[in-house]
Amino acid sequence: MKPTDIKNPEYFHKVVDCQYACPAHTPVPEYIRLIAAERYTEAYMVNWESNVFPGVLGRTCDRPCEPACRRGRVEEEPVAICRLKRVAADNKGDVTSFMPQGPFVPNGKKIALIGGGPASLTVARDLAPLGYEVHLYDNQPMGGGMMRSQIPSFRLPDSVLNEEVGFVLDLGIHTHFNTRVNSLRDVLDQGYDAVFVGTGAPKGKDLADLPGRWDAKAHVHIGIEWLASVAFEHTAKIGKKVIVLGGGNTAMDCCRTSRRLGGEEVKVVVRSPFKEMKASPWEIEDALHEDIPILECHVPKSFVVEDGQLKGMMFEKVEAKYENGRRKLVSTGEPDVFIEADDVLVAIGQENSFPWIERDLGLQFNEWGLPVLDEKTFQSTIPNVFFGGDSAMGPKNVITAVAQGHSAAVSIDLFCSEKSVHDRPSPYTNLISQKMGIHEWIYDSPVSDDERFKVPHADKALTLKDRKKEVELGFSPETGFKEAQRCLNCDVQTVFTENKCIECDACMDVCPTSCITFTVNGEEEDLRSRLLVPADNLSQDLYVSDTLKTGRVMVKDEDVCLHCGLCAERCPTSAWDMQKYLYSVTKAGNQCGILQELTT
C-alpha cells in the first residue's frame, strides 16, 4: 500500500467516527471534553457554531453519531453523545458574549428565506453576520418550523426552542410571520439577490382510498397536521380509544401525545414487522413505557363506520417474506382483525409540496416532485434560488437540515459575491500536539471502564397528565461528567513520523487493542490479513507509513484504537505523537471564531 496521506483533511476526519457520521460534522469529542471540564458555555458554543440548535438536538436528534461511535465497537454501548449535548445546553452560562456581535455592517445584499425551520434559520445564522439583509417568511406565528409544530413539548419544551430560535432572530433578521408565501414569482419580483427555500415536507400522507375514510373524516386525522394543531393549542382532546397508523417517529409522537390528551387505550398499528419499524429505538422504548402496545404486521383494510360514527378499523394480518432482498407482505390467511377506535391518527409518512411555485418560472422538478438541485451547492435550476432541509431532498431530520443550510449559505454567499458556487473554500483544520511531559498529555488519556449511563425520566404519573411536562430529565452534571469520560477522544490522533522510528516495537507491544503491526508491505487485502489481529472491518482505514530502515512498514488499523496514547508514551523518539485534530466544516465567510478561539 502507498503511505497514508495524513495531509488529506478527510483522513483524520474519518477517524473521528462520530463527527464523520454527523451530517453537520459537529466536533463531538471537543465539546465532550469541555463538558468534562465543566466548561458548559464553551461546550454549548462549539455545538452552536456547528449545529445551531444544541438544546433542541440534545433532546431530539436522530443521533447518527451514536451508532458510529468507536466505543460501541470496543464494548457494548456508544457514548450518550446526544444527551451530553443537552448537558451543555442545560448548564450553560451567559452565551451572548460568544455570539456574533451586531449590528453588522451591511454588504448591500438582500436575501429571502421561505420557511422558518432549521434549514432557513441556519442560513440566517450564517449570513446575517456577513452583512446580508435577511428576510424570513413563515405562515406560523413563530419561528422553528417542524421543530415547533411536530415535536411535542414533552420531548422539547417551548422555552428551549424559543431561546435557540431567538439567538438567530436576534442577529437582526427581518421576520415576516403569519405570512404564507403563495407565489415564488412574487418573491423573485421583489428583487432579492438570492432566495432560499426551506419549506420542509409539509404534507402528511393519507389513506384517501381506504373504504370508510371519508365517512369517518371528523375522527381521522393526519399525524403531522394533528401534532401542529396540538402544538398551537387548537386541539386539546382526543377520544379514549385511539389507533395510530405508522411506525415512524411521527407515529411515536402521535401516540404519546394522545396519551396526554385523554387517550386511554392507544395502540400503534404498523404494516411491517416490529424490528423493521422506522422509529428510533429509544422512541419506541418510550412509547412502550407509556403502556402503548405496538401491533406489527397489520395492514389497514377499512374504517368501520356505523350511523356516521367511527367504530374502529379492520386490519388484515400479514407476514413478511423476503425475495431477492425485497420484502413482501403476504396475508397469513387468518381472519381480519377489528380494533375499536374513537379516533385514528394517520402517521404513515410525509411528502413535499410546492403548490406555490409556479411551474413556468424555469424551476425544474424531478419525477418525485422534488426540485432539481446540485447535490453539493443546493442550487436549483434558477441560479439565485437555493433549497435546503426536507424541501430539498425529501424528509430527513433536523441535523441534516442544518447541514444543508450551512452548504446553501456558502453557495448563496459565493453567488452573491459573483464567485463560482462550485469553487468552495476548504474546511478549517488544525493538528496540535498534546504532549506536556513524559507521561502527561493535555487531554485526559486514561480510558474509563464505565458502562453507558441511563438518562433519568420524570414520573410517568406526572408526565401523562401534562402535555408540556418534559419526560427526560437529562444527566446531572455528575453523571454527565462520568458519561463524558467514556469518550475515547478519537480526535486526538496517533500521528506517526517514520524517520524518527527506531523500530523498537514498544508501541506494538503496549497497544492494548493490538492495532499496530510492523511488517513488510503488501496490497491492502493481504496486509489486512497479516496484522496482529486481522483488520476485518473494511469501513475503517489502515494507516500505513513509508518504508522504514529494516524494510518494513508500520501499519495501524484504526478500527478499535482507544486513543489512550500508550504508543506515544512508550515511544522513545516521539515517532508517535498524540495530536488533536480539529475539523470544522466550511461555512459561509469561513467563520470559525469560537472553535479557533477555544481550541488553539
Partner: protein, 350 residues
C-alpha cells in the same frame, strides 16, 4: 498521566489451543524507559508462551536484580514468580527445579546480574545442565545506575559520556559453549521473527538453554560509538539461519534443499527448522559452532540465531537419577519407606 493500561482489548483477539488470548500472558504495564529493548523481549516471551499454548500456571519465572530482572512483572502475570538477590537467580532456580521438576523454569537476567555479580552461579547452572531457559537481556551497561560499562561491553565501545571501554568484553555465548551448555543462542530484541521461535525451541529443550539477547538501552547506550545500539546491531547482525519452530503435533510442511537446511528434533517431539545455513556451521557440532563464533568475532559481525544445540541432552534430574515424580509431591511413606526397606539396605552392606 498514565501508568494505566486500559482494560479493553481487541474484540476479535484469537485464542490458543488452551483457550487463552495473548492478554492472559501479559503483565502489568512496564515502568522501564520507553523503547527499552527489554520490553520487546517481554513481548516475545508473551508471544512464545501464547503460541505454545502453555498454561501460565505451569511456568515459574525467576530473576535477580537490575532492569532486566524487573521484567517478570511485565509478562506472565498468572505464573509463579521469584525475584531473588542480585546474581543469585540460578541457585534459587536450581532449588525450585529440584523440588518440582514439573514446572517450566524461565530465568531472566541481565549482563550485570549474569556476567559480574552472578558469574559464579551462572557457570554452575550451565555445568549441571539445569532444565531451564536462561535469558540474558544484554545491553552492555548498568542502566539502573546510569549507564556505566558492564562486563559484556565490547572493548572500544564508546559510552554515552564519551569514554572508551578499555577492557575486553565477556562473550556469554562463547563461554557457555566452552562450559558444555546444551542449547546456546544469541538474538536481538528488535528481531521478533527470530527471537520468538528461539524462545519456543529453548522452552522445548531438555536442559540448560541460554539465549543471550542484545537489548539496547535507549537511555544510556544507544549512542554513536556504542556496539549495542539499535543502529549498530542492525548494521552488524549476521543471522546463522532463518529459524522456524514446529510444534510436536504439526507436520513439517516446508522443505528446503539438503545442505542448506537442517531440522533438529527436540526432546519433546517438536523441532527447529533452520534454513539458509551459514557456511561451515552445523548447529549440532560444538566445535564448528565455536569456530564460526570466533570467525564472526574476527570479522566484527554479531552472530545471531541458534548457535549450538544437543538434541540428546540429559538434564540435571537425569544425570543425578532423581525420582521421576516432583520431590515436593512425595509423601511421608515415599520418603520413609519403613524398617523393612532399611533392613534391606543394611543387608547390602553386610
Amino acid at each position: 498521566m498514565t501508568y494505566i493500561k486500559p482494560k479493553f482489548r481487541h474484540p476479535d483477539l484469537p485464542k490458543n489451543a488452551v483457550g487463552f488470548t495473548k492478554t492472559d500472558y501479559e503483565g502489568v504495564i512496564s515502568t522501564l524507559c520507553a523503547g527499552c529493548g527489554h520490553d520487546s523481549i517481554s513481548g516475545s516471551i508473551v508471544q512464545a508462551c501464547y503460541e505454545m499454548s502453555i498454561e501460565p500456571h505451569r511456568v515459574a519465572k525467576l530473576s535477580g536484580i537490575g532492569c532486566s530482572s524487573k521484567t517478570p512483572n511485565y509478562f506472565l502475570n498468572n505464573s509463579h514468580g521469584f525475584n531473588s538477590v542480585h546474581g543469585r537467580m540460578p541457585s534459587v532456580a536450581t532449588g525450585a527445579n529440584m523440588a518440582n521438576r514439573d514446572l517450566i523454569y524461565l530465568g531472566v537476567s541481565g549482563d550485570g546480574d549474569t556476567a559480574s555479580i552472578g558469574m559464579g552461579q551462572f557457570v554452575h547452572a550451565i555445568r549441571r545442565n539445569l532444565n531451564m531457559l536462561y535469558i540474558v537481556m544484554n545491553n552492555g551497561c548498568y542502566g539502573l545506575t546510569k549507564g556505566q560499562d558492564s562486563a559484556t561491553a565490547d572493548a572500544g565501545s564508546v559510552s554515552k559520556s564519551g569514554s572508551v571501554n578499555p577492557f575486553e568484553g565477556i562473550d556469554l555465548v562463547g563461554m557457555a559453549l566452552e562450559l558444555g551448555a546444551t542449547f546456546v543462542a544469541r538474538s536481538f530484541s528488535g528481531d521478533k521473527t527470530q527471537l520468538v521461535p528461539l524462545i519456543k525451541a529453548a522452552l522445548s529443550h531438555n536442559g540448560f538453554a541460554l539465549i543471550d539477547v542484545l537489548s539496547p538501552c535507549v537511555t544510556f547506550n544507544n549512542n554513536v560509538g556504542s556496539t549495542k545500539s539499535y543502529d549498530y546491531v542492525r548494521d552488524h547482525i549476521e543471522a546463522l539461519a532463518e529459524i522456524g519452530y514446529v510444534p510436536e503435533k504439526e507436520e513439517i510442511t516446508v522443505s528446503y534443499d539438503s545442505g542448506s537446511s537442517v531440522d533438529v528434533e527436540l526432546h519433546d517431539g517438536s523441532s527447529v527448522q533452520l534454513h539458509k545455513l551459514a557456511e561451515g556451521w552445523d548447529p549440532r557440532d560444538r566445535q564448528a559452532a565455536m569456530s564460526r563464533l570466533q570467525q564472526a568475532k574476527a570479522e566484527g559481525e554479531i552472530l545471531t540465531g541458534l548457535v549450538y544445540v544437543d538434541p540428546d541432552s540429559k538434564d540435571l534430574h537425569e544425570i543425578i537419577k532423581s525420582d521421576k515424580r516432583p520431590l515436593n509431591s512425595l509423601k511421608e511413606e515415599d520418603l520413609c519407606p519403613g524398617a523393612g526397606v532399611l533392613a534391606m539396605i543394611n543387608d547390602e552392606f553386610r
